[in-house]
Structures are given as structure tokens and as C-alpha cells.
């Protein structure tokens, strides 16, 4: 039982518990904060995996930008709590059964079919952070330059689309 494994188990417990909190919390704001906690623990997983760039991008993009947008919309719409409408009686048990089937299927595929019992490659060679970042930047801006630029166009299209969607027509009552 080494230190890294203890850290992993604690983080996994926090991640699963915060995902469960997202599923059961009645208040949407609490659900969003649970999701922020989940993203933060996954960021620490990335650090453990030797991916500091992805970890920091996770914190700034997901836990920062995306969740702030979520909280903003939740509070804008005032939809912290929805009234309980008519509920299909079989929906919840059916959903739990389907999710359990999905989990069993994924476990079967990963651990029976693919026999993924291998440990991570060269565990002794600790990841050189500076070198990794340098290689990542070189790969991103040389080999993957076109997808990178397409991504910027995609973000522009999304931005223009959102502005067009939410713009009020002239004379329309808001």
C-alpha cells in the first residue's frame, strides 16, 4: 500500500461520491457545485497521469468557464428547484437497470475481452514535465495545426450562433 495508491483511492471515492451527489441533489446549484468537485478530482487524476497541461486546462475550461456558465444560466432562469411533475413510475428502476447493464458491459469489454491488466508503461521513468509540455506544444502546432485552426473556427461559429439564437426580434416582448 503505497502513497500513490492511497491518494488514488481517496480521489476515486471523492469522484464517485460527487457524481452521486450530482445525481441525487434536488437543488440545481448544489448539483453544479458537485460537478465542480468532480472536475477538480479528475484534474488531480490528470496530474497523477503526468499530464499537467490537461489538468490545468481542465481546471480553467471545465471547472472555471463551463461551470460558471452553468451557474449563470441556473440563476438567470431561477430554476434552482423544479416542481415535481407527473413521474413515470417505471422510469427510475428502468434507468438504474440500463445503467448497470452499461457498466457491466464496459467492465466485460475492458477486463475480459481486452485483458487490460497491464500496468502503465515504464513506471520508473518519472515524467519530465518540461519535456512533455514542449513535445505537446510542438505536436499540437505542427502535426495538428489544421485541427487546431478548425477548432478556432468552431468556437467562432458557436459564439455567433449563440448571439443569433438569443437575440430578441424587434418589437418582441421579452
Amino acid at each position: 500500500m503505497n502513497l500513490t495508491l492511497i491518494l488514488f483511492i481517496v480521489l476515486a471515492a471523492v469522484a464517485v461520491a460527487s457524481a452521486a451527489g450530482l445525481l441525487v441533489s434536488r437543488n440545481t446549484v448544489y448539483a453544479a457545485l458537485f460537478l465542480v468537485l468532480n472536475f477538480a478530482t479528475v484534474a488531480v487524476f490528470y496530474l497523477l497521469l503526468g499530464a499537467p497541461f490537461i489538468a490545468l486546462a481542465q481546471v480553467t475550461i471545465y471547472a472555471g468557464a463551463i461551470m460558471v456558465l452553468f451557474l449563470f444560466v441556473i440563476m438567470l432562469l431561477g430554476s434552482e428547484k423544479l416542481p415535481r411533475g407527473l413521474v413515470l413510475p417505471w422510469q427510475r428502476p428502468m434507468a438504474i437497470v440500463l445503467a448497470a447493464v452499461l457498466l457491466a458491459e464496459a467492465g466485460f469489454l475492458l477486463f475480459q475481452r481486452l485483458r487490460l491488466t497491464a500496468t502503465l508503461a515504464n513506471p520508473e521513468a518519472s515524467v519530465n514535465t518540461t519535456e512533455t509540455l514542449r513535445t505537446l506544444g510542438m505536436t499540437l502546432f505542427n502535426q495538428y495545426l489544421l485541427p487546431f485552426e478548425v477548432t478556432s473556427v468552431l468556437l467562432l461559429v458557436a459564439m455567433v450562433g449563440v448571439i443569433v439564437l438569443t437575440k430578441k426580434e424587434k418589437g418582441e416582448q421579452g
Partner: protein, 103 residues
């Protein structure tokens, strides 16, 4: 401290988070929480990507995760705008009311 965690542990936690995201999409009736569950699923897929990238010693997985993050940021912006418009039209965001394409 040098000993690392097996790849299968990361894949297991990724699969569990993905299944919980699916469960959230299926059982919740608030579209915002459904959307957050979709984010949870994307995030678990990212975790599997990074774990495989570490396992095979290549950086392509991390670059793909970067692209997934930007796409999901764009997707969240558009999706939340749609939710705002639906709220403006129906004065509620209950998922049961969204049963016709014609507003």
C-alpha cells in the same frame, strides 16, 4: 512513491463515471442537470484518453482531450442558449413540456 497505479484502475473509474452520467441523463428531469450529466460522460471519456496516452507513451491522447474540451465548451454555450430560449417561450424548463418541435 515510484510505483504507479495500473491502467485498469483508471479505466474502471472512467467506466463508473460514464455509467453514472448515463444514469443522470435517464433519471433526471431538469434539462440543466441532464446537460451536466453529459459533461460528466465527456469528462470520463477524457480520463480514459489520458490514461491510454500514458499507458502507450504517446501524447496524441492528450491532444485529443484538448480538442474534446474545446468542442464541449462550444456545445455548452449553444445548449445553454437553447435552454434560455425554451424558457423564454414556455416559461418553464421542465423536460416533459418539450414534446413538440414547433414552439
Amino acid at each position: 512513491m515510484n510505483q504507479t497505479i495500473p491502467l485498469s484502475y483508471y479505466l474502471a473509474i472512467s467506466a463508473v463515471l460514464f455509467a453514472m452520467g448515463t444514469l443522470g441523463v435517464l433519471i433526471r428531469r431538469n434539462p440543466l442537470i441532464i446537460f451536466m450529466s453529459v459533461e460528466l460522460m465527456l469528462n470520463s471519456a477524457n480520463l480514459a484518453f489520458v490514461a491510454f496516452a500514458r499507458s502507450f507513451g504517446v501524447l496524441t491522447g492528450q491532444i485529443f482531450v484538448f480538442f474534446v474540451m474545446t468542442v464541449s465548451a462550444a456545445e455548452v454555450a449553444v445548449g445553454l442558449a437553447l435552454i434560455v430560449i425554451i424558457f423564454r417561450n414556455k416559461h418553464s424548463i421542465n423536460i416533459d413540456l418539450m414534446n413538440s418541435l414547433k414552439g
